[in-house]
Each structure stands twice: as structure tokens, then as C-alpha cells.
């Protein structure tokens, strides 16, 4: 499965960047979300995956009795997911405002700040 997950991650990275490279504001956000998912899955995969063994200590035991998945990457991803959520919400609103104020859908037309002034 690792190989499939690796391909999925590759697809998410590729799609994320591809969408960011479009000129449309909405596509930019979607690209950001896809890229974020890709990065999270990468942590997940590289922290090594285990099937059917959540890192939860059984009810009547103080330690794990059998194999368990590495909990640390999961905690990291949780943190990353929540942070990405904050960033994405902000991005969505930023784009909405930018669209309203700058009055363009086209990122290519948002280059006034790079021009000499």
C-alpha cells in the first residue's frame, strides 16, 4: 500500500502546485488545500503506516499488548491539519476580499505592488 499512498501523495502535490499556478483566485485556494493534504499524508506515510492498530491502549491494560501505529506522526498531522485549517480559512476570506477590492478574478492582474510606485 505504501506505493499507492506514495503515488497519491505525488498526485496531491502535483495537483496542488498545478492549481496554484493557474491564474484563478479560487483555484489558488483549492491548490493550497490539496498541497496541504499532500504534506499531511507524507508525514503519515513516512512515519510508517500500520493497519488496524490504532495507538489506543486497550481498556484493561496499562501498556500496549500488541502492535500499534506510531502515534507521533498522527499528533503532528493533527497539529498541521488544524493549522492548515486556520490558514485556509484566512486564505478564503483574503481571496474574497481581494476579489472584491481589486475587482479582478485574474491573479495576473494583481501585480500593482510589484510595479514601481
Amino acid at each position: 500500500m505504501e506505493i499507492i499512498l506514495a503515488i497519491i501523495i505525488g498526485v496531491l502535490y502535483a495537483a496542488g502546485i498545478y492549481m496554484i499556478l493557474r491564474r484563478s483566485l479560487v483555484k489558488l485556494i483549492i491548490g493550497i488545500i490539496l498541497l496541504g493534504n499532500g504534506a499531511n499524508l507524507l508525514i503519515f506515510l513516512l512515519g510508517r503506516i500500520t493497519e488496524g492498530a490504532p495507538p489506543i491502549i486497550p481498556e484493561n491494560s496499562k501498556v500496549f499488548l500488541e502492535a500499534y501505529a506510531d502515534p507521533l506522526p498522527q499528533a503532528l498531522i493533527l497539529t498541521a491539519i488544524v493549522i492548515s485549517f486556520g490558514l485556509q480559512s484566512f486564505a478564503i476570506i483574503l481571496v474574497k476580499r481581494a476579489h472584491k477590492v481589486v475587482k479582478t478574478d485574474d491573479l495576473d492582474e494583481m501585480n500593482a505592488t510589484d510595479e514601481d510606485s
Binding site: M1, E2, I3, I4, A6, I7, I8, I9, G10, V11, L12, Y13, A14, A15, I17, M19, I20, L21, R22, R23, S24, L25, V26, I30, L34, F44, L45, L46, R48, T50, A53, P54, P55, I56, V63, Y68, A69, D70, P71, L72, Q74, A75, I77, L78, T79, I81, V82, I83, F85, G86, L87, S89, F90, I93, V95, K96, R97, D105, D108, E115
Partner: protein, 769 residues
């Protein structure tokens, strides 16, 4: 000695706060400072003449080996006296010249700053602190040259001067550090003993080149000379001070200071002779084509500096002697001529020599000063100029190679300089007084006094050379590493070739003066050749450099976000694939990977289908819905691989994101497809390469052995020590609780940001505040 240097700085700072006080009649009082300093340095003459060297060292930044160590030997004494002596006269002169000027206090501030920096420069025995003062002279001269800063030309020449001398400054720093690197010390007097080591070092040429660039830029040597005529935009006291005795001589000082360390090498000598030679001839010729008095003086100054460089390059005892004398000669007559020019300009309002004449009738004392200075400049006996010229010819005639060319060059230069001296010192005073100048008033004593003093000194030292011989000249030669104790300065050395050359020079020079009058026609004629001058080449260069800068900047900072992203991703792809494919080689160890199962495959397929649909659909809403499909697939992946917490969070957050999208979606732009086909292909290739690289990288990493030390610790202690069984949650709230605390702060900030973005509407008056 530190106090002596700091005095100028302190005075400058004082002026910031007490400026009003010195703006009025009391301005002349500020001359007390250079005057006192002159007296202070003059008191060292006997000691220095007897061969002593006075040193003082103050700790500053020992961590860098940078001290404020000062050394007063013959060379620095001569310069100190010129700096303070001429400084004294210029300070006094200014009080009258800029009388009532709104910013007189500032002017004195810059002058004092400059004087102090100059003193520090010539007294420093630490090459880094020398550099510090060197830069301070550049920056204070920037302010002096740009004093009339409302005039664009003035600003431009200040910028040019700072640009050129600043440019040279960096080379001085590089040279200093290189020398420090070779010798292990920044103290100049310690370097003296390491002459051989330096010359033998593989970095010798480089070090010398660095020092040369510094000296040549500061002392206006070809092809860096053109900032100097431009600097004539400054008020005349500035020109007097900077260009006769001080700033432009800093480069000369530097070369002299390093002669005993770097000199006596073929590269050193030949380069100096060539550069000095070209400079003196080139600019002496140029002087011929000027009508502005200050222009004439500027070019003759450059030429004189060329002579000095040339003499240092000759490197013989005689040459050093000639250089030492010529420094004094030049300081005296050039300062006089500048002062005189300043008076003329101040009284008549013009410096155009073609429109000047007969002024002796109005300002006799000035005329006397001018004529005496011209005589000295022409090297006519009994002026000290004659002495200087004789010594120069003597040294040239003893040059080891290309003697004839050298002699012709120096004689030609001297002839032209005679012309220049006469034009500046005599021409305005003789002949008929133009109608326009009938009502010109005579200048006050504060103006002509300093000129007369300097002019008279020029004659006095010529008649009584003993006055300066052992006091000033010989200690300089000693400081340059030669012993001239057996030599005696005198006007008369009997009939010889040198005297013959002198005669020819004076005769031809005077003839030239009578036959070639300065004229606009001449000036325009040379103007046509301006396009090949270093100045215009540099200006063109600067222009194209600006064009290039704009081009380079706009290539990268082109305003298109997608290009920025492309560059970054391309950079990543290229670097990573270089290592991945170039040095490592990709191998995938399938044995370490687990089996692919059917339902996993299906999850993968729906995820990829969702992604592709998101990317290629033309509807925003469908794209958002497809993101939901992707989110569900990821959630299922988390479930399949034992991460229920993640699955829950991922799904909740996905749903919230969908809600967010939906709430703003109809305010968002349409899901446009703006890129053309070619761009899509290009971006597609780039994105796919990134995806492929990440995929391969992941597989490579998976083939590496794992280390579960940390997760084992968590598993072991989650319940026993942290009282929890959901290890993920225990990590989040306990083992790595700090992460979580920050993370919720991130959320709170995002919420505040959203709130502000949507609710804050600035009134139009508050825009951009």
C-alpha cells in the same frame, strides 16, 4: 593626540546644538580650532626633525585587532601641518566668503568633521582605523561638495565623488584585510618589518592592486579622475581645502605610507609611473581647454597629483625628495589660487576667465597673491616652485628606463601647468578691466589675508629652503624609507641639464601663455571628444547598468505570482532531482512495502478521481464537492491506517472548509480557465515532475531503517505517567502540549484576521496610514 583628532568631531557635534551662535559674526572664532591644532602639531617639529617617531595607542576593538593607534612621523607631521594650517586659513576665509549664509554653521560642522577625519587618516598607524577615517573623509566631503544641495548639479557631483571614492574605499578595506591576513597584524609600523614576507606572498599583486584602486580613486588618477572637476561645484573654500592639500592628497599619502611596505617592486613602480604619467599629461592638456577658472585649477590639480604618483613610482631618493617638496609647493600655490579664484568669483560673480581682466585696479593684494602663486606654480625662481621643479626634473632624468619619454612627459606637463598657473593667477588681474566689473568692490582682509600669507610663504620657502629642509622635507623622505640627510635644498645648483630644461619650460610656457588664450571655442572643441572620456564612458556604463538592473529586477520580480511559484518549484525540482538521480540513483525496495489490497486501491482511485475532477472541472461548486470526495478518501485512508483521531479531525475540518467555501463562493470569482494551452502543458510538466519527485523521495525514505525509540517511550508512558490511553491525545495535550498551545493560538489569530478582513472598513481618509 586622540584629543587633537576628536576636537574636530566634538566641535561638529557642538555645532548641531549651538549652530545659531556660530552663524553670525562669531563664525571666524571657529578658526581657533585649526589654529590651535596647527600650533600643537608645530610643537612636534623639533622632535620629528631629530628622527623621533611619536606613538600613541588607545584600545578600541581589540577583538578585531583594531586599535586607535597613532603615529607621528615626518610624513604624518607634514600632512597634519597642511591640514591644520591651510584649515586655519580656510576657516577664517569662509567666515567672510559665506558671511551671513543660512547654513554657515553646518558648513563649519562639515569642515571640522572633515579636518578631524583627515587628521585621523594621516595619523593612524592601524590600517583599519586608517580606513575608518578614510571613509569619514569621503562622507564629510560628500556633505561639503553637496553643500548647495538645492542645485541638481551640485547633488550629482557630490554623488559622483562619493561613488568613486566610496568605491575605492571598499578596495582599501579589502587591501587592508588582505595585508592583515598576510601579516597577521593591522598595525602599519609592524608591517614595515615584514616587507619581504609581503612581497613574497602570492597575494602581493592583489594587495597592491587593492591599495592602488583606493589611492587612485581618492587622488583622482586617470581614469578615476573625473569626479574632481565635478566637485568644483562646491563652494570655493571647500575646493581650496579638499583639493589643494587634503582630501585628494589622501591617496598620495596612502601610497607614500605604503611605499616602505609594498614599494621597491617592479609592479609597484611601473604601475605608478604609467598611471601617474598618463594622468599628469592627460589632465594638463585638458586644463588648456577650460575657461572656468576652477576648471583650469581642477585639471591642473589632477595633473599635479599625477606628478606626485609618478614621483612615488620612480621610487628613488631624489624622487621622494622631489615629491616631498612638490607636496608643499602644490599645497601653497594651489590653495592660494583657489582662494584667489574664490575672491574673484565672490566679488565679480563670474569665474569665466575670458570675461575677466584688470582686476588689479580693484583688488591689488589679491593680484599680488595671484601673481606670486602663479610664479611658484610656473617654477620661476626664487619661488619654492622652482625648487620643486628642479628636483622633479632631476629625479626624472635619473629614471632607469624610458628616460627620454619620461623627461619629455614631465617637461610637457610642467609647460602646460605654467600656462594654467598664469591663466589662473595672472590673467584676471592684467589687461583692461571689463565694463561689467567697474563697480566691483574690494574684498575684506579676511578674504585676501589668507591668500597673501600662503603666496608669500611660497616665495619665502624658495629663498630660505633651510626653513623647511630638515623640519619637514627630510623627515618625509625618511618616513618613505630613504635617507636624505646628505642632501641640501638650494635654489642654485649650477649649470646643468636640469637648469636647461627649466629654462626651456619657462620660455615655452610663457610663449604658450601669450599665444593660446582660453576660449569657448577651444573648450567646445575638446567637448566633441568628450564621448570617449572616462567620465562619459562611466556615465554610459552607469546608464546601461541601470537598464540592466531594471531588467534583472523585472525578470524575477515580474508581478506574476505564478512565475514566482514556478521559479521556486523549478528550483526545488532541479536541485532535488540533481541529487536524487545524479548522485544517488533511485532504487525502490519492494520487499519493505506491504501488499496492495482491493479496497485500498479503490480508495486511491476515488481520491485520484476526485483530485482530477477538482483540477479539470469548470464549475466552482463541483470543484468544492470534489474536494469533499478527496477529503472523504483521505479520511478513509486514516481509518485504514489506524488513525481514528486523524480521520475525525480531517473530516470535520473538511466539512467546515466546505461550509466556508459555500458561504463565500458566490462572492468569489467564476472558476475561470485563464491560462492558454501552452502554459497548461508547461505547468503540467512542472507539477508532475514535482509530484514524481516527492513520490520517489517518499519511497526512498521508506526503504531506510526506522527508529521507534520515541514512539516506544510514548507508548510505554502514556498511561503510567500521563494518565491517558489515547496516545495521540496524550501527545497533543501533554507530551507535546506546547505545540498544541501555539496551534490554538494560530487558530485564534486566523479568526481575528478573518474578523478584521471582513469587518474593518477604513474611512477613505485613513487609507494608507
Amino acid at each position: 593626540m586622540l584629543a587633537a583628532i576628536l576636537l574636530g568631531f566634538l566641535f561638529a557635534i557642538l555645532l548641531v546644538f549651538t549652530g545659531k551662535f556660530f552663524r553670525g559674526k562669531l563664525a571666524v572664532l571657529s578658526a581657533i580650532i585649526p589654529g590651535a591644532l596647527f600650533a600643537y602639531f608645530a610643537s612636534f617639529i623639533p622632535e620629528i626633525a631629530s628622527g623621533e617617531i611619536i606613538s600613541r595607542t588607545y584600545q578600541w576593538v581589540p577583538a578585531f585587532g583594531v586599535d586607535l593607534s597613532f603615529k607621528l612621523d615626518g610624513l604624518s607631521l607634514l600632512f597634519s601641518l597642511m591640514i591644520t594650517g591651510i584649515g586655519f586659513l580656510v576657516f577664517a576665509y569662509t567666515a567672510s566668503y559665506l558671511k551671513g549664509h543660512k547654513y554657515l554653521d553646518r558648513f563649519y560642522g562639515y569642515l571640522s568633521l572633515f579636518m578631524a577625519a583627515m587628521l585621523g587618516l594621516v595619523l593612524s598607524d592601524n590600517i583599519i582605523s586608517l580606513f575608518v577615517f578614510w571613509e569619514l573623509t569621503s562622507i564629510s566631503s560628500f556633505f561639503l561638495i553637496g553643500f548647495n544641495n538645492s542645485n541638481p548639479a551640485s547633488r550629482k557631483s557630490a554623488l559622483t565623488a562619493l561613488g568613486i571614492t566610496g568605491f575605492g574605499g571598499f578596495f582599501l578595506l579589502a587591501g587592508a584585510l588582505l595585508l592583515g591576513n598576510i601579516t597577521g597584524t593591522f598595525t602599519i609600523s609592524e608591517m614595515l618589518g615584514m616587507k619581504e614576507a609581503i612581497a613574497g606572498s602570492e597575494y602581493y599583486i592583489l594587495a597592491v592592486l587593492f591599495i592602488f584602486v583606493a589611492a587612485f580613486t581618492k587622488s583622482a588618477q586617470f581614469p578615476f579622475h573625473f569626479w574632481l572637476p565635478g566637485a568644483m561645484k562646491a563652494p570655493t573654500p571647500v575646493s581650496t581645502y579638499l583639493h589643494s592639500a587634503t582630501m585628494v592628497k589622501a591617496g598620495i599619502y596612502l601610497l607614500m605610507r605604503f611605499t616602505p611596505i609594498l614599494g621597491d617592486q617592479e609592479f609597484w613602480n611601473t604601475s605608478l609611473i604609467i598611471v601617474g604619467g598618463i594622468t599628469m599629461v592627460y589632465s594638463a592638456i585638458h586644463a588648456l581647454f577650460r575657461t572656468d577658472l576652477k576648471g583650469v585649477l581642477a585639471y591642473s590639480t589632477i595633473s599635479a597629483l599625477g606628478i606626485l604618483v609618478f614621483l612615488i613610482g620612480l621610487g628613488t631618493k631624489g624622487a621622494f625628495l622631489a615629491a616631498a617638496v612638490f607636496i608643499i609647493v602644490h599645497a601653497l600655490y594651489k590653495a592660494t589660487l583657489f582662494l584667489v579664484t574664490g575672491i574673484i568669483d565672490h566679488q565679480t560673480g563670474t569665474r569665466d576667465v575670458t570675461r575677466l581682466g584688470g582686476l588689479r585696479k580693484i583688488m591689488m593684494p589679491v593680484a599680488i597673491a595671484g601673481i606670486l602663486a602663479a610664479i611658484s606654480s610656473a617654477g620661476i625662481p626664487p619661488s619654492i616652485g622652482f625648487l620643486g621643479k628642479e628636483l622633479t626634473y632631476e629625479a626624472s632624468a635619473h629614471a632607469e628606463t624610458f628616460t627620454v619619454i619620461i623627461v619629455i612627459a614631465i617637461v610637457l606637463t610642467k609647460i602646460l601647468l605654467l600656462w594654467a598657473g598664469f591663466v589662473a593667477g595672472i590673467k584676471p588681474f592684467v589687461g583692461k578691466l571689463p565694463e561689467a566689473h567697474k563697480d566691483v568692490k574690494a574684498p575684506g582682509f579676511l578674504m585676501w589675508g589668507p591668500a597673501i600669507i600662503l603666496a608669500v610663504l611660497g616665495i619665502l620657502f624658495g629663498i630660505f629652503p633651510k626653513l623647511i629642509e630638515s623640519a619637514l622635507v627630510k623627515p618625509v623622505v625618511l618616513a618613505l624609507g630613504a635617507d636624505a640627510s646628505d642632501y641640501h635644498l638650494a635654489l642654485w645648483h649650477g649649470f646643468n641639464t636640469v637648469l636647461l630644461l627649466s629654462g626651456i619650460t619657462i620660455a615655452v610656457g610663457i610663449l604658450l601663455y601669450f599665444f593660446v588664450k582660453p576660449s569657448i571655442k577651444l573648450e567646445n572643441r575638446i567637448g566633441k571628444l568628450e564621448f570617449i572620456s572616462p567620465k562619459s564612458i562611466l556615465e554610459k556604463g552607469t546608464h546601461y547598468f541601470g537598464v540592466f538592473s531594471a531588467f534583472w529586477t523585472n525578470v524575477f520580480q515580474n508581478g506574476y505570482l505564478r512565475n514566482y511559484v514556478t521559479t521556486i518549484v523549478l528550483f526545488l525540482v532541479v536541485l532535488v532531482s540533481y541529487i536524487l538521480f545524479g548522485t544517488a540513483g533511485v532504487t525502490i525496495d519492494y520487499s519493505k512495502l506491504s501488499q496492495v489490497t482491493a479496497y485500498e486501491l479503490v480508495v486511491a482511485i476515488i481520491l485520484i478521481a476526485g483530485v482530477f475532477y477538482t483540477v479539470f472541472t469548470k464549475s466552482r461548486l463541483a470543484a468544492v464537492a470534489a474536494m469533499g470526495v478527496v477529503g472523504l478518501a483521505i479520511c478513509l485512508i486514516f481509518v485504514f491506517y489506524s488513525a481514528p483521531d486523524l480521520a475525525m479531525t480531517q473530516f470535520s475540518i473538511d466539512t467546515l472548509t466546505v461550509i466556508l467555501f459555500v458561504l463565500v463562493l458566490y462572492r468569489l470569482p467564476k472558476y475561470l480557465s485563464l491560462s492558454d494551452y501552452k502554459m497548461r502543458i508547461r505547468d503540467g510538466i512542472l507539477s508532475v515532475s514535482l509530484g514524481a519527485i516527492i513520490c520517489l523521495l517518499a519511497l526512498q525514505v521508506l526503504a531506510e531503517p526506522t527508529n521507534s525509540e520515541i514512539s516506544d517511550f510514548y507508548a510505554e508512558n502514556a498511561y503510567k505517567m500521563a494518565h491517558g490511553k489515547n496516545v495521540v491525545n496524550v501527545i497533543l495535550v501533554d507530551f507535546r502540549g506546547a505545540d498544541t498551545l501555539i496551534e490554538i493560538s494560530v487558530l485564534a489569530i486566523a479568526a481575528i484576521g478573518v474578523f478584521g478582513l471582513l469587518k474593518l472598513r477604513l474611512k477613505s481618509t485613513d487609507r494608507s496610514q
